[in-house]
Subunit: 437 residues, 4 copies
């Protein structure tokens, strides 16, 4: 069955293309800065939001009436998957991503869960082969079932912790079987609703233990993908333990997990945490824990995760500038963890939204490359810190001098240093000129 | 000279006292939970906001016309200090705190700076002895002088880094000489204004180096106080490196400084970072880096540091509940890093504000002790995590089981765990009943 | 059938009561400032959140398993209503409130809707009579059904506008039949998701027209309750037209509706709009459009409507202080538009939550009365503006002087006015002393 | 004296210009949509931020060392003005704007104030004539002097109200004499710090009176410029009475001032109030009170007015799209109420910043014109509301039908309307394609 019969494969039409469903910027096989655009961006369609959500929000019922959501049994699940692969194929992106429960019927039975996962892994594998589609990452949904009311790894009930282990085991097995390049852990409810009922130290310890079990399991399995933690500050919880890049780094440090796990950054999670997305990307790169990106955008006036499709070329350009400067993605990529607006009920809206997202990233890539080639930023930065390459700078930063030594030198030389301009507007102008041309 | 001639020493009057300038809750020598209130709370008057600020804000000129700010030379500085000690004495709190530049004339000369600090250390020492007042902490202001435009330790100019070392050396020397119990480092401009001109990795490295120099200097000096970092997310900077407790823990971990430095938490900094103050206190305690508190409050509708005197008994009760449960302060205490409103131009307002702050903390202490004694919270929490003391729980958390083992057990026992109620409203009601009685 | 067999009617136990399910502050028949507490507070249980919500959130499935939600047909609806009346009776509050769809089965048929409403109005009437319970307000849910995707009165489709009229007609009819004291209009989706597809002027005009139709209908019907608009800034929409008190006043002014409609203020809606609840109450009173209150609280760190049961005695005290100073409620009251936390799965939690809310308001009432009696605030304010009662003040404010006249007087008298202290901390201390005793 | 000797007049260089200090998009005399770019944009340099601020912030001292700020007497003021005109001339923008106290020495004497204003009006007039520069607006600073501690028009002291009248009289006189096209009233401290000491009704009445006096004075004077109120939600106050467009409309309605005053919208004030700038522009246009714009941008992570130079082409494009659709500016224009970052200490930074701002607006104008010409948005919107032009729609919106009539029609026709897609992503994609090309 074809779910989007009126939509052909979306072609690249060039920057002035007037075909509505075409790309103006995304030309997958075009080489730029030594890689194809496809390989730079490694874009992925997310099955959760895109296929499983039917338009319900906290104040209103379903609005989408997706034909692939009519049945929820295994046949219904396969229909959903088939719709997903049709979408991926027509968009021409190389990857998809999924949660365990995105593709199997609901069940409380551990055995049924296991057999559903096994059956669906085969189905997914077939569809991937047919479509030449790859798996960016798999994951387990450890927050939707009512048992995860208080979290999964951080549940006060060790049997629930064990159920989470059960799901991760099988979701990782599926991910490995399908050649997934990463396995993601999003701590949906790993946090607290109120500190009044919470033993923070205990819950951190549980989470550390769980992550260690996952890491060990990865090695036991021989899975060679990357493990990713996805920071989010809150929602649905009051506070999530993997709040932001700094909180994840703190956590990985405490439990000896640095080097074993990286971060999957989501744009809207960054902004909910009070950071620019640029900040989170740059911080993760500076801390050597950058892994992958969930590409979306938030609404600067709204305090929840709106998960809108990305359109903010300026923000994504700066993120890509950082990523490219550090060598680009290795196992990660850009996954569209984005939702249509609930009122976008026309199936074509799914295509408009993805085309906007894909072209936003493609254009951001082109602009980031231009920023690198023009080198205004990199020259300015290099010049700005030049003092640290002087004798005095190297001595201060790395020598065996003491605080008192430095103080004495200040007195002896009667130092009265004059700061230079930070040149912020000069650099902003350079970026503006490069992005908008 | 007496600066507040109309104000006597503020007495404890008991919970129904009608004397305007009296305490209703703070009875310093009263013993409660094995310590005097004075020793539990270890309150401190902050010289910066309280003595040095003359009411100017970003949109308007001075409003306070403090008599002790008429002259800015050394005589003027001594007048300011004297006004401060009069205030401390009349409020009956045991501590004060200060920045280097709070008490000396402005100068660009390293030598003059040094000699001013030496002279003022003597003056402060005399006044402390006369008044029986102690020093909670000293610090250096590394953000006000124009040389610190781009930060101090994280300045792109190593000579500015060295100037910061010069100031810290002498501020710490003064702190040691005056028997200070802590030395604080607030990273006022240690952060960035724009990532466009910033080398994050380089600046983190500089900051790590600076802190290491400070730690080594402390040992070299034989200073036995605690070193404290004060988290703040932003303002005046776009982003400050010591954003919140998690960021500080991440930083201390990266640079091998865990165990050497603790945090000085400020209420309004916590809330600007998107956390409840309760969260930051509980997190610092869970990570073993809790040190001291700057007591104030913010305005939930305003996005800058309003630094208002504390009045929020509920918030401070929960913070004290956590602190007491972990054994109370060691070297830290409650410092009033709070400012009058700019329109509170009557000198008496300084007393009303401090009395409100002191009584808020005193009442919060009494209520926190009641929470501990009633034990509704602690019993609930203990019971909630009881599963982790079972064989299964201990096995899951600490045994040599693997993820696969847990998964298998879920299947074998066909586990279908039912979560219990988190009882949030039940606990909130218990807290409400204890605080409001 | 009894839904809460283990819970007796909740008694007043006095301020030191140790009975878990008892009131410490709410003594309904106690007279205070010339009215009984019951008549001052006019509290109401809200059927929507309390009875209809089963614990689902945007990330997870139902958690509550309410026995009265097993069936959704008319029998199921009656069971739900009966559970509600049992709750109201045991809590001893005088009022309840409901939406049309809270108490009838879902239907797309206009006729079925009408007949369901008629049948249920009778059932509700019987239960009210049996229990001595009154209706604070009725309302129609114009946001849950998918037809209201783009709003109801502001839908681009006039047939949807007409459907909204249909619902309001029957919901108001039920409200009138049941002796409801108010009728509420909450503009759940009366706003926009994106300005790109929105004709603001057209939608405002539709909303103005709808409200005019509602007002006229009220008179046609002879319904003598108050019409209330409930401001909310956003959620689920990006922007709601009844954003805050000022926006509602602007709207009522534009469409000639001042005097016809008042506001139903919700605490958490106020704070989401960037205002203190105190501000919204004081503003509505100053603009003569204050009507009623939805009592809950938000979470200062979260950017969505958490609808928590009120516990913030200080905030509610100041709101009640304003309300009492303006003569108290007329037709309005305090409705608990509050939800349990999703993890509070024990039916007893419903009682703990309501008891906390009721006692919070009862204590706030007692404290607000104390503030009035002590008169520190009112005296200070009266004195502060005394200048406006002087000749010069009356002349400036109300005389026939011109701007130029005033300017000339400034020059002639060489005026150099000195502002007095605003005394903020002095007043905050007075409030603190009154609330915490 | 020339203050920027190294900077020539900034030329238009076209979209690929590599000259650092040149415009790529602003070509003042180019005609586009029937007006020159200069006439469309009516850009203005603001003397306050640009000339008077020396880099001080709340945490640190001056950083800029402007040569024109060395003296503060009348000679110093004239130097400042001369620097300003040099800047305006070299940037080639047609307008400037100023506050009274931006250009005169500080004084407490009403007479001196008057004579300073008279003298400076002459000096400004000469410079305007020489440079062919026009005045977009004048204003009085009613918030910086300590007498305005509690506001100006809303001060509790009527003598302070009168002083404000004195300043407005002379600032308006200067504005008229200099041919200013608007006169602005920004309520810097017209609001409250705490409701505890505030009589809201009294202060609103004072503000209404003041505005009425200003309006009457305008007519008495024969000044034919537009009066503008500038909304801002808070800062420095806790709450400002002209919070946002809705609050200003509510205020103008209450005091019968609709038609007499319009709004001067500032981008960063809009976002601090929780609105997109697009929203505030569209709302002001829909309410017929749109006047002028202070062009800057805020920082989405910071909660204060950062007043950064505009660079956000997408946001300004949508604003210009609305403005052009309503006929463009009449007396208003784009004033750069923007500040350099404190660390941008190089005088050239002033030029980089203005060039960025000017080019951002110029490009936004070009893109907005493209949006109008392509008409995707306008066609979609027209089609979306087509139902309101049907018989049923006209009947519902404007006929003499009642609520009951509409309800009956729903039943009779058994209406079951199906909503159409809102097409948000489709429209966002169209905007993206137009802006980024």
């Amino acid at each position: 069955m074809e779910y989007f019969p009126s939509v052909p494969e979306v072609p690249y039409g060039g920057p002035r293309s007037d075909t509505p469903l075409s790309f103006r910027h995304y030309n997958p096989k075009e080489t730029i800065l030594k890689r194809t655009m496809e390989d730079h961006l490694r874009m992925s369609v997310c099955f959760w939001h895109t296929l499983c959500w039917n338009g319900r929000d906290i104040f209103g019922e379903d609005t989408f009436a997706r034909p692939w959501l009519v049945r929820s049994d295994m046949e219904g699940q396969k229909a959903k998957v088939d719709a997903g692969f049709e979408l991926v194929r027509k968009l021409g992106v190389p990857f998809y991503s999924f949660h365990d429960v995105d593709v199997i019927p609901a069940t409380d039975s551990p055995k049924e869960y296991e057999s559903y996962m096994a059956e669906m892994t085969e189905h997914l594998g077939r569809r991937m082969e047919e479509g030449g589609v790859r798996l960016l990452w798999g994951t387990a949904n450890l927050f939707g079932h009512r048992r995860y009311l208080h979290g999964a790894a951080t549940s006060p009930d060790p049997e629930i912790f064990a159920w989470a282990a059960h799901q991760v085991r099988h979701a990782m097995k599926a991910t490995q079987a399908l050649g997934g390049e990463n396995y993601v852990l999003w701590g949906g409810r790993e946090g607290y609703e109120t500190l009044l009922n919470t033993d923070l130290r205990q819950e951190r310890r549980q989470l550390g233990r769980f992550m260690r079990l996952v890491v060990d399991h990865k090695y036991a399995l021989g899975f060679d993908g990357t493990l990713l933690i996805e920071p989010k500050p809150h929602e649905p919880t009051k506070h999530q333990y993997d709040y932001d890049v700094a909180a994840v780094h703190s956590f990985l440090s405490e439990f000896g997990l640095l080097g074993e796990m990286k971060v999957n950054l989501e744009v809207n999670h960054a902004t909910l945490a009070g950071h620019s997305f640029h900040h989170e990307v740059a911080s993760a790169l500076a801390l050597d824990i950058f892994g992958s990106v969930d590409a979306n955008r938030g609404d600067p006036q709204l305090g929840w995760d709106t998960d809108q499709f990305p359109a903010q070329t300026d923000e994504m350009t700066l993120a890509l500038y950082e990523i490219l400067n550090h060598g680009g993605f290795s196992s990660g990529g850009f996954n569209f963890d984005a939702r249509l607006r609930r009122a976008s009920t026309d199936p074509i809206d799914l295509f408009s939204a993805h085309i906007m997202g894909i072209d936003t990233l493609a254009l951001a890539l082109r602009r980031a490359v231009a920023l690198i080639e023009e080198s205004t930023l990199s020259s300015f930065v290099a010049n700005r810190y030049r003092g640290w390459s002087s004798d005095f700078g190297r001595h201060a930063l790395g020598g065996d001098c003491s605080l008192a030594d430095l103080s004495k030198q200040v007195v002896e030389s009667d130092l009265r240093p004059e700061p230079e301009s930070g040149g912020q507007e000069h650099l902003e102008l350079a970026v503006h000129r490069t992005i908008y041309r």
